[in-house]
Symmetry: C2
């Protein structure tokens, strides 16, 4: 296989895993230099190197990302030992046009005002490093 084909296959596998697992742990760095991770639902569009999340404008993680743009993301499916690690740079957007484009009716419960809800912020992560592991339990190294 050519390197390009391998890369395309790796991105396809990553996109499949992210699409199936959906809930990421998004890791940010605190002002004190510690790490904080929290579960966050990934927007459903297919991964192509960028990821989108909807969140509340007042969420403390936004302040952490404003101070320190680099973020980590992990996706874990514990029942079959599937693990994804991503590293990237986060941007925060308040962009009703983009929110309209990303909108899904399932978001309505969280943002009753729809894509123009004043409490809605978008997080865009551009991924620059990705790794994944898919393996049966017994092969796990310590």
């Amino acid at each position: 296989m050519s390197p390009e084909t391998e890369r395309q296959q790796a991105i396809r596998t990553l996109a499949d895993l992210i699409g199936q697992i959906r809930i990421a742990m998004l890791t940010t760095v605190t002002p004190e230099g510690g790490f904080r991770s929290r579960p966050l639902t990934t927007h459903g569009a297919r991964f192509d190197g960028d990821l989108w999340f909807l969140t509340r404008l007042g969420s403390p993680k936004l302040e952490e990302m404003r101070q320190h743009h680099r973020v980590g993301l992990t996706y874990v499916r514990s029942d079959d030992n599937t693990y994804v690690s991503l590293s990237g740079t986060a941007r925060i957007l308040v962009d009703p046009g983009k929110a309209e484009e990303l909108w899904d009716p399932s978001y309505q419960g969280w943002f009753p005002g729809g894509p123009t809800d004043p409490d809605l912020a978008l997080i865009n992560v551009t991924v620059d490093l990705a790794e994944y592991w898919t393996a049966p339990a017994l092969t796990w190294p310590l």
Copy 2:
């Protein structure tokens, strides 16, 4: 409940979750400032603020931890939406005495030389920030 009791209960809950999930995603910072996470089995002793891991002395994560001592840990059980986030400081030890103390026969497959295997390193993480979420799927915020 007094704050101390609440704290003790929270540590007990955390210890239970970590003990059940066992496989952490350990997040380190690369020399370029990116994040790398990888699955790692937690040593079985009960969490009391410290965590132990066995790893190979040549593992690249050790070099990342030597450069940047702060690490993140997450524990995820995806089938019931359980998420744990920990932040701490890592120490790397080559300490056959401690390895002997931690030793479990299940480690033999990875380190045929036992606690004195020349390829065996210990990672100790002292946790200074911990959060967890346990909730049914439908209550998950975006």
